[in-house]
């Protein structure tokens, strides 16, 4: 214990306070999830009559049996989500890094103009209808999977993040010395710049990947076939269908008897988020360090 530094009373109180606060915070975060898992194992009638509980009251796996009777849809949605996330993150990362690098280079004469054009879109947008018309009517992408991953490849925010990170992480001296040694732009970028960018790449890549993984909006707008749906949209639409149809049933004759029950909805949520939850803690580490590195050094 030679390294132990004696803590003052104030310090101790502070950390005690912090621990209590964090404990409460994490309980608040974990509780809803426990309720969802427990609800998914509870008999539907029990949820309706007795409400939710922390431990399943009438344990049953009926909800999961219902889902896995035809798991094809969920598996398809998973597949599509991996596809969109993979291709979107890879191409997006490439484009954002290249753009960020170019507009960070002092010898690029029009870098301010180009940067302005990029940043400008982060404040002034055309709005939803022009955006939709652009993809649906001008580019004719409605019904294409391209319409789902293409629109999110670049975001001004991530370009800014990348640019500031490059400025901070790659001093001019390095690139200059490489240039003197006869390296061209591509050699400089791939051999010198890219290796020191790893934390930045992790941050931007995670932002992109999470964005793709959690998106449902573009499926909602552009999909014409349910086999191209993103996972989140598959789930979101399931919930919306239930509420919308119950609401509509006051105006229109339609069948509402076989809509998914409460416990099936909860089981759906577990099945869809489960794998991500396992995956999340492992990348979280990079995510946090990446953000601080990028922002503070900027």
């Amino acid at each position: 214990m030679q390294n132990k530094i004696k803590q003052s009373a104030a310090n101790k109180t502070l950390s005690a306070f912090a621990y209590v606060l964090l404990t409460i915070g994490s309980i608040i975060c974990v509780l809803p999830f426990i309720v969802i898992v427990s609800g998914s194992f509870t008999d539907n009638a029990t949820i309706i009559t007795k409400g939710y509980s922390l431990l399943p009251k009438n344990f049953t796996t009926a909800a999961y049996q219902t889902i896995f009777r035809s798991p094809k849809d969920i598996i398809q949605a998973y597949k599509m989500n991996f596809y969109y996330t993979g291709i979107g993150t890879f191409l997006g990362l490439m484009m954002i890094t290249l753009t960020g690098y170019v507009i960070s280079r002092k010898e690029f004469k029009y870098r301010n103009t180009v940067s302005f054009l990029i940043y400008f879109t982060s404040i002034f947008g055309g709005g939803m209808i022009p955006w939709y018309l652009m993809y649906a009517n001008v580019l004719n992408l409605k019904g294409h999977t391209l319409a789902i991953w293409f629109p999110a490849l670049m975001s001004p925010f991530l370009v800014i993040l990348m640019r500031t990170f490059i400025v901070g992480a790659v001093p001019d001296a390095i690139t200059e010395s490489a240039k003197i040694d006869g390296a061209g732009h591509f050699t400089i970028f791939f051999k010198i710049v890219l290796p020191v960018l790893k934390p930045g790449l992790a941050t931007v890549g995670l932002f992109l990947a999470l964005g793709y993984w959690n998106d449902w909006y573009r499926s909602s707008m552009f999909s014409t076939n349910s086999s191209t749906w993103q996972l989140q949209f598959y789930l979101y639409d399931l919930l919306n269908a239930t509420t919308a149809m119950k609401q509509m049933a006051s105006n229109v004759s339609m069948k509402t008897a076989d809509l998914p029950t409460e416990s099936v909805k909860l089981a759906m949520a577990v099945v869809a988020t489960g794998p991500v939850l396992l995956f999340y803690p492992f990348v979280q580490r990079y995510f946090v360090s990446g953000i601080t590195v990028g922002a503070v050094k900027g």
């Binding site: 909602s220 509420t243 149809m245 006051s250 229109v252 069948k255």
Partner: protein, 545 residues
Amino acid sequence: MKKKVLSMFLAASMVATLLSGCGSNTAKTAADQLEAEGVGEIPVAEEQAPEETKEATTLDLSKQVDLVFYVMGDAPKDEEKVEAAINEKLLEKCNATIDMQFSTWTEFQQKYANEITAQSADLIYIANWLNYGQLASSGAFVELDDLLDTVAPTLKETVGENALNMCRVDGKIYAVPNTWAEYVSAGVKYREDLREKYNLPVPNSLENLEAYLMGIKENDPSQGLLTATTEESQGFQTGFDAAWALNFKYNWVTQNGLYYGLAANYDTPSDVYDYWYSDDFVDDMKMLKRWADAGFWSKSALSDTNNSESYANGLCVAEVAGQNPNKQITAIMEFKNGGHDDWKSAYVAYGETNGVIYPGHATQNGTAIVNGCKDPERALLVLETLLCDDEMNALIQYGIKGEHYDVVDGIYHNLADEAGESSTFPYEGFNTWNLRNGETKLPQATDVELQKMFDAYEKLGAKTKFPNVNIFDGFSENFESYSAERAAVSNVMSQYLAPLEAGLVTDVDAAVEEFRSKMKEAGIDKCREEYTKQWKAYCDEYGYN
């Protein structure tokens, strides 16, 4: 320092992105959306159908036309299979194909507006709850008056002049309604078995409803009575669900009266009178207070969310708001599926007591041709084929016979459902409620009971001054000039009217006074004045006097 400012800006912009991502637009209507996006008028395609003489002509069918048919909801699993079967026949009959496209139930208002702006669909489902009237008058749809004569006289005859007239907007027909008269008459759903058990009256009036609920409370104090929240009372008529029961008392033109506390009787629709500032209103509020004190609904009813499954699970013994005959049928099925064979659900429509009963309005389920359609004439011909040709109608409504469904004794049977599998093409699997043909619509097993109710209502409806005419639902309010007052009125309703109707006030008279004066402050008079003007003009236009 600069860097700090920058990083703060970044953080702030991140938060802003997150916040805007969470905002929900679902409450906005399609027309609101268009307006918010600055699309005041929907662009009208340059190409118009060439002028033609008013005689029926034979269309030139030499060129194949591929049409997009936009409908609401989710696609059935066997969409492509049924589409292929339809198109095979459709190519023979009209040399055209259709591609069904579905809105899904996510942000469907927004997407519906987009679809019309983008003009990518040819045929489209329309309904009053999708703002048919407003869209039609802003030029979203192709005018059908002449086309119906020249291209589709059979369709015109099948649908009938009366129904088509109800679809007129500014004097022009823009949509073709379905031809199945459907009664969505609001009423009270209650437990017949409990009523018999305790020997209580049928809840077919305010007094009997009170006696029924009181009787159950006395016999079984632990039993929940009414599920009443604010969920079915989001408009400008009521603030709390229990107030729907008042329809037993009044023969208003529509359930819950007109907007903004105005009312008009069904027999004299253009004679608008005041309800919120009348003595009747005070009496009604006192009665609701008595019900609340008797514990008919929970003390936290105003903040509860409506649990639509509570009736099915026996948590309440009656529902008074947002009900219709079809929900009664659903309840019977739910009792059976839930293993409660000894429970019995019964239904009393308010119209059976107050004498005002009518089927759904023609604009409730219809089809329009979107302006910008590739070939409006062919689209109308296809619509005629889908609605009037029995074989085609059966195909699009029920799928492939022998594979998806079968008919036994004139009753529809879904083969997958009966085999215990999830259906690949359910009843009306394309959600084409707009293609219901009253003559040939196949009943499901549960529809037999429903049809009995409809038949009874039809007889009652025939006795009214406007036999079987839904007056109210063809009216669409244009609140542009008083939208600020309207929003204020809406706030006062949820703040003062809801607790009043839920009986959660100590002194009813004082609370009524406060509600009335707050309404005046909110600008109720302006709303009422404009609304009355528009309503009267509507009544004049369609001859509801």
